[in-house]
């Protein structure tokens, strides 16, 4: 077999290849599994309450794998980066999930600022106005089978973030919303 000569031209070829690979890596959009459609709506006016009348200027939909959107005090996905607007926007996540094991579940909803969490159309917990990132513990009994949830959130001014996880019964192991377990499947 003929050996590839290692000379200045080979170095140049390697350098070119490295640069091309680096560029392709950089410009390839990050991919995450499509589990939730996150609808982000920029409001024309200042938002101070999750229930206030919306005056939407523009909307975008971002597909995410988990509801883990609280990085660096921002509404930010670990892979996708900043996905919100600069301020004053609503976020809506509507999704279904399958309960494999019936029983008492705990949903941990962390937000900065307000949120409303409902399961099968019934409000489970909420924080209506601004606050620093804080996690609320929301209890709900679920039967086996298909269910739906709705998580509405708003960001007013300053730091932001939204995260949701669940556990089977209080004190159980916590899973991020989007991670399937032997209890729930999204």
């Amino acid at each position: 077999m003929k050996a590839i000569p290692f000379n200045k031209n080979t170095v140049f070829s390697i350098l070119l290849a490295v640069v091309v690979v680096a560029i392709i890596y950089r410009i390839t959009p990050p991919y995450v599994e499509d589990v939730f459609d996150v609808v982000i709506s920029k409001n024309r006016t200042t938002i101070t309450d999750i229930h206030q009348t919306r005056d939407i200027e523009m909307t975008k939909v971002v597909k995410v794998d988990r509801i883990n959107l609280a990085e660096k005090n921002r509404f930010r996905h670990p892979k996708l980066g900043d996905i919100g607007y600069s301020g004053d926007y609503f976020v809506d996540i509507d999704s279904t999930f399958l309960v494999k094991k019936p029983g008492a579940y705990v949903f941990y909803v962390g937000s900065d600022d307000g949120f409303v969490f409902s399961v099968d159309g019934k409000k489970i917990c909420e924080w209506t106005h601004e606050r620093p990132f804080t996690t609320d513990v929301c209890h709900v009994n679920l039967t086996a089978g298909d269910h739906s949830f709705k998580l509405a959130y708003y960001q007013g001014y300053g730091n932001s973030g939204l995260a949701m996880s669940y556990a089977f019964a209080a004190g159980g192991k916590q899973y991020l919303a989007g991670d399937n377990s032997r209890y729930l499947e999204f």
């Binding site: 031209n9 080979t10 070829s13 070119l16 410009i27 920029k42 600069s86």
Partner: protein, 504 residues
């Protein structure tokens, strides 16, 4: 007759074949610089100042500016000749130094004002190619590396505007070509070579004073001219030659500079909207008398103009990196393309999707990083000879590398002495030196492969140029204002230190 025609066709074919590389370059250059240069149909960045000044030339209004007047004169001339705004009232342009949107009449086109910068920059590729061809004696190397000056996003956006850099770079490259041509032609350097160089440098300085960096070419020309006397320390002959060559080069330069100012002062026949700048009472009286072309008015007018330029520079604020929205940047940051400037943006919602047309000065990172690598490699080469005593493998090429590296370094050192805020586009002049230098250091490193015509080298070089063009195309939305979504913007926001600002 058919024989004659055949002969003519053969000659034409031979001529085309001989000049095929510059011809291709010129077509590409005009394709990139000239296509739709009338867009955006609104002013951006310094166009608001320069269009106002150019219009004052057209209307014979006296004005003073921090930059010498040649660039604006050419813009005014092109606007008058092309006349794309016939019937549009541009009177408000002469009443201000910075045109606001409200002062801009409907239907205004900028193809006239932008024409000199666009066309001269597109033509500059010929000088660039000529410089490399003369130094490397290799048409293909010169051809491939000339892609740098066509496909750099920062050069293209700056030159496709009624701004000074495109015109300045034309003269900067013309000066360099003149110098290279004189040195490489193989005949003794004559006094008229110094004079010609002086004329072109004078034209460059009359556009932007930063072109004065090319005064170094006089020193280099003298060094080549008197190399034997320098080596033998023949001070008598050196002094004798110096006494002749300095005035031979400097007098044409000064005459060109003064002539441009003479025309500028002569054309300023009226004062509008009470804007008298730093005009002294004597100068204002001369304007009132309609005596603007007299030598006495020229003397006072020149004094007042130079005073204005000097005091304006003193009044420009310093760089304040903590200031929100600061567009200026530190000179050493420019090497990596920091920081970009958003010249203008237009937001639109198409089918519910937000799209933004950005006009931002962004580097072609392949070119800019190559230029930086070239400077580092050149400095290493120079040190290897002068500090470690290594023998160079190609003496003429080595000294050309020294010359280009010196021009780059001296410009940067000079810029670092300036206290006022400076911007990324102030790097375009040394960037062009660096582009030429990179081609030379590449030729030096791969000298044996070029001489042996190795296929591997040409494949590599072709792929490299293809990469330069591909990256240019990738960043072209910032250069031509093509609409982008936020995701498309993020895809191009390669480095956080570029400080590109997304519009949401």
């Amino acid at each position: 007759m058919p024989n004659k025609l055949q002969h003519l066709a053969m000659n034409l074919y031979a001529l085309t074949l001989k000049n095929i590389y510059p011809l291709i370059l010129l077509i590409c250059s005009f394709g990139i610089y000239f296509t739709y240069y009338g867009t955006p149909g609104a002013m951006f960045w310094d166009e608001n100042y320069h269009v106002a000044s150019a219009q004052k030339h057209i209307d014979g209004v006296m004005y003073m500016e921090p930059h010498p007047p040649l660039g604006k004169m050419l813009m005014g001339l092109a606007e008058s000749v092309i006349d794309p705004n016939a019937g549009i009232d541009k009177q408000k342009f002469t009443q201000t130094d910075h045109i606001e949107g409200s002062d801009t009449p409907a239907g205004m086109k900028y193809t006239g004002y932008r024409w000199p910068s666009v066309v001269l920059m597109a033509l500059s590729v010929l000088f660039f190619y000529g410089i490399l061809r003369r130094i490397t004696q290799n048409q293909l190397i010169a051809f491939l590396f000339s892609s740098f000056i066509i496909f750099d996003n920062a050069l293209v956006i700056q030159a496709r505007a009624a701004m000074l850099e495109g015109i300045q770079l034309f003269f900067v490259l013309a000066e360099l070509y003149c110098f290279v041509s004189v040195v490489t032609r193989g005949t003794p350097i004559r006094l008229k070579d110094y004079a010609l160089l002086g004329v072109i440098i004078g034209l460059g300085i009359s556009v932007k004073v930063t072109s004065a960096i090319e005064l170094l070419l006089f020193v280099m020309l003298f060094g080549v001219d008197q190399w034997k006397n320098i080596q033998t320390f023949n001070y008598r002959k050196l002094t004798k030659r110096l006494i002749i060559t300095v005035p031979t080069g400097v007098i044409p330069l000064v005459l060109v500079f003064l002539s441009i100012f003479y025309i500028h002062i002569g054309m300023g026949t009226k004062v509008v909207a009470g804007k008298t700048y730093k005009a002294s009472p004597e100068y204002l009286q001369a304007i009132q008398r309609g005596d603007t072309w007299s030598p006495s008015t020229f003397i006072v007018g020149l004094r007042d103009n130079l005073k204005y330029m000097s005091e304006y520079a003193d009044g420009v604020p310093k760089l304040d990196e903590c200031k929100p929205g600061e567009n200026g940047s530190f000179a050493m940051d420019w090497l990596l393309g920091k920081k970009t400037i958003s010249y203008r943006w237009d937001k639109d919602t198409v089918n519910g999707k937000v799209e933004v047309r950005y006009m931002s000065i962004v580097a072609n990172p392949v070119i800019w990083f190559s230029v930086l690598a070239g400077i580092v490699l050149s400095l290493g080469l120079i040190m290897s000879k002068f500090i470690y005593g290594q023998k160079e493998k190609d003496t003429p090429l080595f000294y050309w590398i020294c010359a280009l590296t010196s021009l780059y370094m001296f410009y940067m050192i000079a810029i670092l002495q300036i206290e006022r805020v400076m911007y990324l586009y102030h790097y375009l002049v040394p960037l062009v030196f660096g582009m030429l230098n990179f081609a030379l250091i590449f030729s030096y490193i791969y000298r044996e492969d070029i001489l042996a015509n190795r296929k591997h080298l040409w494949i590599n070089l072709s792929l490299y140029v293809a990469l330069v063009i591909a990256v240019f195309a990738f960043f072209s939305p910032f250069t031509y204002g093509f609409p982008m979504t936020e995701n498309q913007f993020d895809m191009r926001n390669w480095f956080s230190f570029w400080k590109l600002q997304v519009v949401q």
